[in-house]
Symmetry: D2
Subunit: 340 residues, 4 copies
């Protein structure tokens, strides 16, 4: 089978680089176009990227000429790692011109006919695509992934909601600096420090989670913090359930969780989307962020809570599962289900 | 007035060093004895301390000979910065021999007749001392300060509880490495990492707060995390009240809070024990930990919550207000009230 | 005596903030004008500054209206903390209009008639001012401070050069992130990392040192590195001398070093510009950077070397002695010598 | 071919864990015995190790029972990751009893008949083994690897010494915390700090390098610093040569360097032991330490120096090439040459 040609919009940024890494050895997709902002157009990728996710740009990408983020790329599918100042319009333009667009940007997340997808959690939302195609009068469409912090939270909440019906969620995040892109967080803001505020992040968690879980009755309160960690968002969560599970039941449900990507054997799907660690001091970013190639959410410390019912801690790799990796898994699902 | 002579037990550790710093220029107290564990006894302080809280040991302390932690010191008052493996028995021995003991260790915190004191919050608990003196058959007694994280929490909760009656509290801490003493947290455990567990800390917060506020009906759920910050514990808090205050009422009550130390004008009392910052990204350890010489709790981000009622973020300097500074303020209160 | 009114150009940046801090309580100078780039002009200082050097802007500065960097300020003396893209022309304009300009920028450092001053090291270079005044046809002039790393190096080298005649110098710097200003070094570049390159820095050290010491025959080789430290540049130095001193002679000369600022008792002059620490693991940024209010260079580890003669390690606070503090001391010297 | 059974002495420490990782998938060796200090003996590996080099102990090791560090293990070859307080005697005991011992400890490095081996640099030193066997009256022997910092330095110096004859070396290291083992460096010593001293390290670099290069006439001066980096030692080096090469000649020689491991195609041998990076801000720990699975030394910034001749910067992964990985490559060489 010849590989499906794809383009990367915003290829020079931090998430764009993660896409390049992931597609360097992908069995289904190959990158035929790198696009970025005007100042990079017409130049070699290696000359315009500040590569900082590994020692070297993967072979074959360094000399690719960077193109414009315009719908003239000879590919059926584009991944958008644009930042939100540019992503909204560009992605819409591509969709109208018939491209499938998978985006890590936040602009279209709350559009009613745009699936905000975590493949294990809400694959059924792909049925929204047909309404979008009507809107665009095109076979093109946009699928987005949620905020990285939301992604980690929903992967742990989904099986628990199905089993025990979640009513309330309290969540405090300790988020890595890579979540803010590059240059992102100045070192003077974060060395020997934490910052108890990330613009717009708490609102995103509180709203996106409801759309993804498809239940507007859940109440969520979030505090989001930036910590001096390179990669890996940690979340301290306390949950109230309608049905009152015991600690061991919660752990069992998390361990047994599998979704459509596991069933379909998608190339980027981890064996289990959620891993549970018994050690009392886990998960930790340095130890757990790369579990399952960064596609797994690691949960630990499930315990009874005095307020609400159950407390736990989870970790998600924000630029892999939470961004580029999540988008690639979404593309694999779209392909397996015939959308691409 | 000649100064009151005091001793420091556990003078070589991190909190012990903070005591030395604070007493270098104290108007009421002067250090007449430094005591530490057996291996340091009989040697000069400068030879046994790994001084790491400023560039130099304050003048006059470097050549003091370290003594044994035995109740033969010619001082009426000792400050115990011993760790919990040693503190319990040693402090009791001193109390029985007639010494006033002010401790930063956790051993006697939950003893019914031992005041666990935050001078602005529960000065009335000093009335417990007389029961203790009966128990010891001595004029000696022990007063303890709570856990550093509890201290920060209670200073913010106290005026709110008085005004609006607290029912439930969620709290997630991001705690500095100095809270674990020295050598404490290995750098390999915390560089580019956070650790979502501190042994015994969540239980302490959940129990000590109730004793200090004197209300067993409050329900508290805590998650405690270690972060790569030198000093300053940050706490993300969400509260349910019986009376439902608005955001501006909460802020007003916090700003107006004053306690007995402020009324008495104690030397280490800050003008206001709680400061409120309007900036949306405050408090931060690097900017706010030294406010009011580390004796102030800085609160920010008071806002409505979807679960429970009000969210806020607070910061306390864990080795100043949360340890040595809090103990010194307690000693000042004891002196002002005639206990010493 | 009424205070001398001064202006700060580039008042919103990191060094500009340090100036504001230093002038909040200066006995001779008071700030009458804050100026910054166009986007800040006409607004209150507190609205345009990202204050990050302490908890709060010092009283009296927060509501000052920021002006334009144009020579219409009613002050005889301006401090320039502009960055080098703007500093060159602006400073020249002020000098031509009769202002005394003291600059932390690099633009005019190598101008032959511009003193690059470290008050303890080369106060005689102030005699260059008269040539400059001729050039500008004005009573105005520019005095600059050297690069922060050079400042630390020269303060240690000066007494050694006078005593033993330096021939060759190796120096490797471990520089703090504040040296790059704000936002400066992205956290993704420096967390769990060091960067072995700082643009232009090695050349500056190799050239500026010769001008300041007034000896073109010294050969210097520098490696400059950025490390994850907030403040304080550490330098590992090995020196060859014409006269071969022993270790104890080197230490003695460093300890005895005093300059004109000490002789004149200038307000910002430390008692000794160089402190020697006996401990084998000093100086360290966290312990030593604030010694002497950040105006002292701390030296340690003087020892024999196998290549060249003597090795030592030194530390300088890069934004105090190395920038704002050094400039203020220069202003004090200018005033004491009648130039202002 | 059945695999050669090996034992790991000191299997629970940081370097011991690296050995476990490397042997989890080694084509020639398999671990038949894990040994550690008395308190771990008789217990399962997973119960006594504080595993912190990846998310999980590799399959098959977790339940192994830890044995005593005594020469009763049924393996011909042991790897010693003991610390230097224990290593000296234990390793000697094993050698006398006929075991081949490959050690990362420093105790026997300067023994005249003990090869201190970097396989690409001085494979000929294996001829010393026969003298050792005479001394022990046994077929057993000890081979050691040098200090991790020395390893990085020698891999870069060797081809340059062969080509241009090195006379003098000035080197300043910026060393990762993992070099001190676990718990090793306390976080309070290194967060927002650097420490300009590592006990014994400078002497090791200055002496070991001469033994490895086999040239006592080279003069080396070292400054060793600890920096807040997890893994990867950076070294700033300036060199004087007898023959004066140009920059491009130095780069060419480094790029072309290959040794016996490359010739023999040993499993752990990187394609090139030294990589040269053209970017002016490389090597960096975060980007380059894992190059060639941590077995490569990355060099950058080759340039003319004012003092001596040529400056460069290099990076070595201290616990891979500098410790466990280097020892495994040594074992492969010993096997390929018939010593095991």
């Amino acid at each position: 089978m010849s590989k499906i040609k794809v383009g990367i919009l915003g290829a020079t940024g931090n998430v764009g680089q993660r896409f390049v890494q992931l597609f360097a050895n992908h069995p289904w997709f190959e990158v035929a176009a790198l696009a970025a902002s005007e100042k990079s157009v017409g130049r070699k990728y290696k000359e315009v990227v500040h590569w900082n996710v590994s020692d070297s740009i993967p072979a074959g990408f360094a000399d690719m000429i960077v193109g414009r983020c315009e719908p003239t790329l000879s590919v059926p599918l584009v991944f958008s790692a644009l930042d939100s100042t540019a992503a909204g319009d560009v992605e819409e333009t591509f969709a109208k011109k018939g491209y499938a667009v998978i985006s890590t940007a936040s602009n279209h997340r709350m559009d009613k006919d745009v699936p905000m997808l975590i493949p294990e959690v809400n694959p059924g939302h792909l049925s929204l695509i047909k309404y979008q195609q009507k809107r665009w009068k095109s076979k093109g469409f946009i699928v987005v992934k949620p905020n990285c912090t939301t992604t980690g939270l929903c992967l742990a909440l989904k099986p628990l909601h199905d089993a025990f019906c979640i009513k309330k969620v309290f969540v405090v995040s300790l988020q890595a600096v890579s979540g803010a892109g590059y240059p992102g967080v100045p070192s003077l803001d974060i060395l020997d420090n934490v910052v108890p505020y990330i613009k717009g992040e708490e609102e995103k968690m509180e709203q996106e989670t409801l759309k993804i879980l498809g239940d507007e009755k859940i109440a969520i309160t979030a505090h989001c913090n930036r910590v001096p960690v390179r990669n890996g968002h940690l979340e301290c969560v306390t949950i109230e359930f309608a049905k009152k599970p015991g600690v061991s039941q919660v752990i069992k449900v998390l361990k047994n969780f599998k979704g459509l990507p596991q069933e379909l054997g998608l190339p980027s799907a981890p064996k289990n989307p959620v891993i549970y660690r018994e050690e009392q001091d886990r998960p930790q970013p340095i130890l757990d962020r790369d579990a399952g190639k960064g596609m797994v959410v690691t949960v630990g410390r499930v315990r009874k809570a005095n307020v609400l019912d159950i407390s736990l801690t989870l970790l998600v790799h924000n630029t892999q599962r939470g961004a580029a990796g999540g988008a690639v898994l979404t593309a694999e699902l779209l392909h397996a289900k015939g959308f691409i």
